[in-house]
Symmetry: C2
């Protein structure tokens, strides 16, 4: 008989993840750090938006940023170059998500003492990241105008687990078949408590509201 390796099944993976998420939340509480997990499809504008948001916030609160990618370090470098904040690139070796255990290990390496706001730029994917609690206080997701207003119908879990939904690249609204009212209606049907905010890093639309929203949450966490 050959060797049989055993791995635990799905339910246990999630139970283990919930333990790791609780550990992450304890590490955050010990440091007074507010943690947001930013998710979207590839190319929705996460890095551009976060760079613009961090530039607005960095003189008001102490920020650290973590980026997840399969093997490149482009995004963490872009954020660090543009904003000067402490930035960490996590390579997840080809997985389609990051879970709380990976976040926990990253936080063991990445000192968050004195950090008021920790931002995680998740891997570009509308399926897998929605399934894993990373230990974040709030999930933020981006739906870009070029992707279309039907995405809540097609990737419902992502919209269900997101506290804040940013409609991005609103400056391109005229070029795509995107109905903002339909998008909002579909998001709120899945998640009646979602805060929905149209933004454009290019024109600055919505950026002041987003800044206030995050700043307010960081201050309430103190």
């Amino acid at each position: 008989m050959g060797e049989v390796r055993v791995i635990e099944v799905h339910e246990d993976v999630f139970a283990q993840n919930n333990h790791a998420a609780a550990d992450v939340r304890q590490m955050l509480a010990d440091n007074g750090t507010f943690f947001i997990n930013v998710m979207s499809a590839p190319g929705s504008g996460k890095t551009t938006l976060l760079t613009a948001l961090i530039s607005r916030l960095k003189d008001k609160v102490n920020i650290a940023e973590m980026d997840v990618d399969i093997e490149s370090s482009l995004d963490a470098q872009r954020v660090a170059d543009a904003t000067g904040v402490k930035s960490l690139q996590i390579h997840n070796g080809g997985l389609c998500h990051i879970d709380a255990d990976m976040t926990k290990r990253a936080l063991q390496d990445f000192d968050i003492e004195g950090v008021d706001l920790l931002i995680l730029e998740n891997i570009g994917n509308l399926v897998c990241p929605a399934e894993f609690d990373t230990g974040a206080h709030k999930n933020v997701m981006l739906l870009s105008v070029p992707e279309g207003d039907d995405k809540p119908l097609k990737y419902p879990l992502m919209f269900t687990v997101s506290d804040i939904v940013l409609i991005t690249k609103t400056d391109t609204m005229g070029f795509f078949n995107f109905d903002p009212d339909k998008a909002k209606e579909r998001i709120l049907k899945l998640n009646p408590n979602a805060v929905i905010l149209p933004v454009s890093a290019k024109t600055g639309e919505g950026m002041e509201e987003l800044e206030s929203l995050i700043l307010d949450a960081v201050q309430k966490n103190k």
Copy 2:
């Protein structure tokens, strides 16, 4: 001691998938059917492009189309309404990919006798679908201009396994920071044999070349 369930590990999942892919290819050979697997990020324009392509091809070859989604049936309905071809919606229950076993089961239900060209619209995702052979003869992937020219650096496996890379929504080139030469260079570095074609379903750019490319492959398969 509680009950321990055992599932086989990753390598065996891929080995099983390769068996199923061989079964799918035999079913295709028995029917003289050419099969393409179409992949991309969410919102890259798969359904719009396929509708335009099928409309051009449907009087020349007999086409059937399968759409994968988590739980909605929007895409199969859109293709069927716009083109009149036989269309099947596969619900994959929340997974981030479709594998050859799912394709095989779909083909057991979905009669492909007399079908010259079978098209699979995969789930919108740049990570998981690249890992699973679906039994297709050719992988086609879409990279839309709004997503940015850095995607080959960030999702390398998808570009490595794709025979044809379509740069879509080229009509929006002026509005986004997308350098087609950089995109091509990055794709060819991963996959020197990739056929790269800029297309726009809106303006028709590249659609004649794409039609010829697919028609030629279907005829060579006979």
